[in-house]
């Protein structure tokens, strides 16, 4: 396919691939096999496509692939490799914070980026932090509890992959 080569790091691995000028980061990621990044609306409304780019949670559907050139991206598949990510995954499983699971990868990324910045939030702050990520099944309670539990343990460990 035509396009312009971009180089970026995804989940700790360097990737070099072609992107179209008008292509969203979401489409670029999904076309390159990162289908854990979900497409719920393509308008920045639902948050299912949330990834972490250079430490910040962003909606990849309203970010151009070109903007990710030279950046470090973390998706749900990369969470396992580091302590806070793993802890969040464990907590979501333990609390039953997952129903259909379609919002889950985006929700985890929003939670991870937030806890990196604010290791000890209260539940209200967590609700605010994930308010850009819609969930239609759970009613949010178990998601907030799962994130809060991780925050309480304050599980920041030196030597994480820093993205």
């Amino acid at each position: 396919m035509e396009g312009y080569p971009i180089e970026l790091t995804i989940n700790g691995e360097k990737i070099c691939a072609k992107a179209q000028p008008e292509q969203s980061l979401l489409k670029f990621l999904r076309e390159n096999g990162f289908t854990e990044v979900k497409c719920g609306c393509e308008k920045g409304d639902c948050g299912t496509c949330t990834v972490i780019m250079n430490r910040k949670a962003i909606k990849s559907c309203i970010t151009l692939a070109m903007q990710a050139n030279g950046k470090e991206i973390l998706t749900a598949k990369g969470l396992e490799k580091q302590a806070l990510g793993r802890k969040l995954q464990e907590s979501f499983v333990k609390y039953g914070a997952i129903q259909c699971g379609f919002c889950t990868p985006g929700m985890l990324m929003a939670a991870k980026a937030y806890l990196d910045e604010n290791p000890e939030p209260n539940k209200g702050e967590i609700r605010n932090a994930i308010s850009g990520n819609l969930c239609r099944c759970t009613g949010y309670k178990k998601i907030v509890e799962a994130i809060y539990d991780v925050a309480e343990e304050n599980y920041r460990v030196e030597g994480d992959i820093n993205v």
Binding site: R30, T35, E36, V37, K38, C39, G40, C41, E42, K43, D45, C46, T48, T75, A76, K77, L79, E80, L88, Q89, F92, V93, K94, Y95, G96, I98, Q99, C100, G101, F102, C103, T104, P105, L108, I126, R127, N128, I130, S131, G132, N133, L134, C135, R136, C137, T138, G139, Y140, K141, K142, I143, V144
Partner: protein, 782 residues
């Protein structure tokens, strides 16, 4: 009881700790979901795959004059463009996976693509299909299709649509789809005996399911020309309907269901499947079709808008003497499941109340809006909004406590529904659920600001689980113990996210003493897994739960009988726990499960079973005056809400929700809680913000920036109270909770708004504008 005996009893209780039923264990697919490994319908691709797009009508009412596809066809990269002329059977009937034909106006027209010379009925109606090498080319080709319309006036309001001489939506000579009724006692006498009569009218808009996963699927032909469709659907039994469209035998179309990214009834009808099958058959290549969010909002079914006219009469002491309800259901452009929704509303119309004189009429009407069909609650919760609002008004007028009026009139075990007179033989947890939900609100919140008023509301109700009994529902499941003691479950069950598939594993694990990790469920394949029926109607725990229980118990009995021979004891002295056949009260004697399996294998004893569970069957009732059993059973529940209303802005904030249901038995409490929490929050959207708005048939809310569902910031903590009466018809006494958990929340919030500021919102959603307007006319005058 001797002390030795007591210790033994304790050991038995401890051993039950190894059972997995009743435990909040993680679902089998939880890890795959958090790791992002689960492949949803849109995450799957095949080599040489083509991309499909649908060309849709721009107008809600028109005659389709012609469709010119020549320009689209000649675009480079386009592999197929199809119109109605290319569809072997473009018109069949809508079904929802039922295996019995009910007829009598229940099955409406299913038209795959709009036909030249016929009417277009709604904005977004599919006209042509494109398959191309890329999504962009397919989209471009759609824009090159030239459609000529003759615009027609259309009719958008159901009351207008019923008037003589109204514009006709379809080809029939009336817009009325069907009319249902129920009547008991003497309604006029009932009102005459009443001290107080209230009449009211409620208006409920169309709403959208707003699942986060848009409709998606992929279809391909296998080596033998069989059509395979991998799709996100609640109903894999639609393989038959697609075969009808293609004029193929039923065994030549196979559905492979994926994990569903939310459904709520919106993936109960066919979505992308017929389109995919037609294009795959034409191009002989794999084809993928994924709706955009805009297309999803525009093109899939909605929840029926309702107009409800209620009249209720009561004595001074609060005793309800008569209730009359007239529902007009706005079915939109096509029939789909409207008749069934109308039946649910009719049966539910008097709520869980003992009312001697009742008269209900329901009319389901075609209009030139998007078609309405299944949605969590399915008519029953539109009914609930009406009766719980007017009963609240009755309490206000009689200066009675909301709990008190419900206690005076509610049903008890052994009572019959006031509509159909179906006697409820299982436990009726009333008024218990109402008392607990109301008390659960705790100490009232005290407002610290002058403009913020606090109020509380209560609503109760009954919601069926399992399909209407004259549909003669059944479910099948297969269980097999492998030689290494691992367990295989096969079931056609689609998993909506409620944990439906995981629950079957849990039941099989429990019966066969195997840990959850050793169970593997293969599900949702219309040709390879036994058909379990649809994941709709809150039926899977009840129906497929009982099917897997039956299959697992057959295998269990074979194991225990063989082990009894080996251990030389009576089989009823044995139990299967933690991969051992144990002798109850004697822990020294046991046989490992794998040894028991070996013994069975050597003796030629089959360690698999496929079982079918049948719901109770009934005859089709007289639909103008329904009587007797129409549902297997009901779940009873109550929801209470505390709200804060800002009288300066009209803004409502829900502060607290208590949701209390008799769930029979919580087979996995985390899953049941999840349903109860999610149902309550979805109801906040229905009450306060969700409105699928159409202006003369043209949808106005085609994004999540316009169609507003609750975010984490709109959602209070929901307190859930589960009553486990053990009185359900499901496995271990479970009842269904999926739909019931959403049933009473809207009126609870509306009643709380009334309690806070004294205005009764009768047209949903209760937006700040409506509240301010009502406050200006009511509140400031007082």
């Amino acid at each position: 009881m001797t002390w030795q005996r007591r210790i033994i009893e304790w050991k038995v209780i401890l051993m039950s700790e190894f059972k997995v039923i009743g435990k909040a264990i993680p679902r089998h697919d939880a890890w795959a979901k958090v790791k992002g490994e689960l492949k949803y319908a849109d995450d799957f691709s095949l080599p040489e795959m083509l991309y499909a797009k649908v060309c849709r009508s721009k107008y809600p009412a028109a005659k389709l004059i012609s469709v010119d596809i020549s320009k689209a066809k000649s675009l480079k990269g386009v592999k197929a463009v199809l119109t109605a002329r290319d569809v072997p059977r473009n018109e069949t009937v809508t079904k929802f996976g039922q295996s019995t034909d009910v007829r009598g106006g229940f099955e409406g027209l299913y038209r795959v693509l709009a036909e030249e010379g016929k009417k277009i009925r709604f904005t977004g109606e599919p006209i042509a299909l494109v398959a191309a090498e890329t999504e962009e080319i397919a989209e471009k080709a759609c824009s090159l299709i030239e459609v000529e319309y003759e615009l027609l006036p259309g009719v958008f309001d159901p009351e207008e649509a019923m008037k003589p001489g109204a514009y006709l939506v379809g080809e029939k000579n009336s817009n009325l789809i069907n009319e249902f009724g129920c009547s008991n006692g003497d309604i006029e006498k009932g009102f005459a005996e009443s001290d107080l009569i209230i009449e009211d009218r409620f208006e409920i808009p169309f709403i959208d399911h707003a699942y986060l996963e848009p409709e998606a699927g992929i279809a391909w032909l296998d080596d033998y020309g069989t059509i395979n469709i991998r799709v996100s659907t609640q109903v894999i039994e639609h393989f038959r309907d697609v075969a009808d469209v293609l004029n193929l035998p039923y065994n030549k179309v196979r559905y492979i269901g994926t994990m569903i990214g939310g459904g709520f009834g919106g993936k109960e009808d066919i979505t992308v499947e017929s389109f995919l099958a037609l294009l795959a058959l034409k191009t002989k290549k794999p084809v993928r079709l994924v709706y955009t969010r805009e297309e999803s909002l525009m093109a899939h079914s909605k929840k029926h808008a309702f107009i409800e006219k209620y009249k209720i009469g009561a004595k001074k002491n609060g005793e309800i003497m008569a209730l009359e309800a007239h529902y007009i259901g706005n079915a939109g452009a096509y029939t789909y499941l409207s008749p069934w929704v109308g039946l649910y509303a009719t049966v539910s119309a008097a709520g869980p109340y003992k009312i001697p004189n009742v008269k209900i009429k329901t009319q389901m009407v075609l209009t030139n809006n998007i078609y309405a069909s299944a949605f969590r609650g399915f008519g029953a919760n539109q009914a609930n909004i009406g009766y719980e609002s007017i009963i609240d008004e009755l309490a206000v007028k009689l200066k009675m406590d909301p709990l008190e009026i419900r206690k005076i009139n509610c049903m008890h075990t052994g009572d019959a529904l006031s509509t159909t007179k179906q006697v409820i033989k299982t436990y009726v947890a009333l008024p218990e659920v109402a008392e607990k939900a109301w008390a659960g609100l705790g100490e009232p919140t005290v407002s610290k600001e002058k403009n913020i008023k606090i109020g509380r509301g209560l609503a109760i109700g009954q919601m069926s689980y399992g399909r209407m009994t004259f549909l003669r529902d059944s479910s099948r499941c297969y269980v097999k113990l492998e030689n290494d003691g691992s367990l295989v479950v096969r079931s056609g069950i689609p998993d909506l996210g409620g944990g439906q598939a995981s629950l079957l594993s849990q039941i099989a694990a429990n019966e066969l003493g195997v840990p959850m990790e050793k169970v593997k469920i293969y599900n949702t394949d219309s040709m390879l897994t036994p058909l379990a029926g649809t994941t709709t109607a809150t039926r899977q725990t009840y129906m497929s739960g009982n099917a897997v229980l039956k299959a697992a118990r057959e295998v269990r009995n074979r194991i225990l009988n063989k082990a009894a021979e080996v251990l030389n004891v009576n089989p009823d002295k044995l139990d299967l726990i933690s991969e051992k056949v144990i002798v109850k009260y004697d822990e020294s004697e046991y046989l490992t499960l794998t040894k028991a399996i070996q013994a069975c294998n050597s003796a030629g004893i089959e360690l698999y079973s496929e079982a079918q569970f049948n719901a109770p069957f009934s005859e089709i009732p007289d639909l103008t005056n329904m009587k007797g059993m129409t549902f297997p059973d009901f779940t009873f529940g109550a929801q209470a809400a505390e709200v804060a209303v800002d009288i300066e802005t009209g803004q409502v904030k829900v502060l607290k929700i208590v949701s209390c249901y008799d769930v029979g038995k919580a087979l996995n409490p985390a899953c049941v809680e999840g349903q109860m929490e999610g149902g309550s929050i979805q109801g906040i959207g229905y009450a306060l913000s969700e409105n699928y708005e159409l202006q003369k048939g043209v949808p106005q809310t085609l994004s999540f920036a316009e169609y507003l569902i609750p975010t984490a910031m709109d959602s209070p903590e929901v307190e859930t109270i589960m009553i486990e009466s053990g009185g359900g018809l499901g496995p271990y006494g479970a009842k269904g909770i999926g739909e019931p958990s959403y049933n009473n929340i809207v009126p609870a919030i509306l009643n709380a708004i009334y309690d806070a500021v004294g205005v009764r919102i009768k047209s949903l959603p209760a937006t700040p504008e409506k509240i301010i307007r009502a406050l200006k006319s009511d509140y400031f005058k007082k």
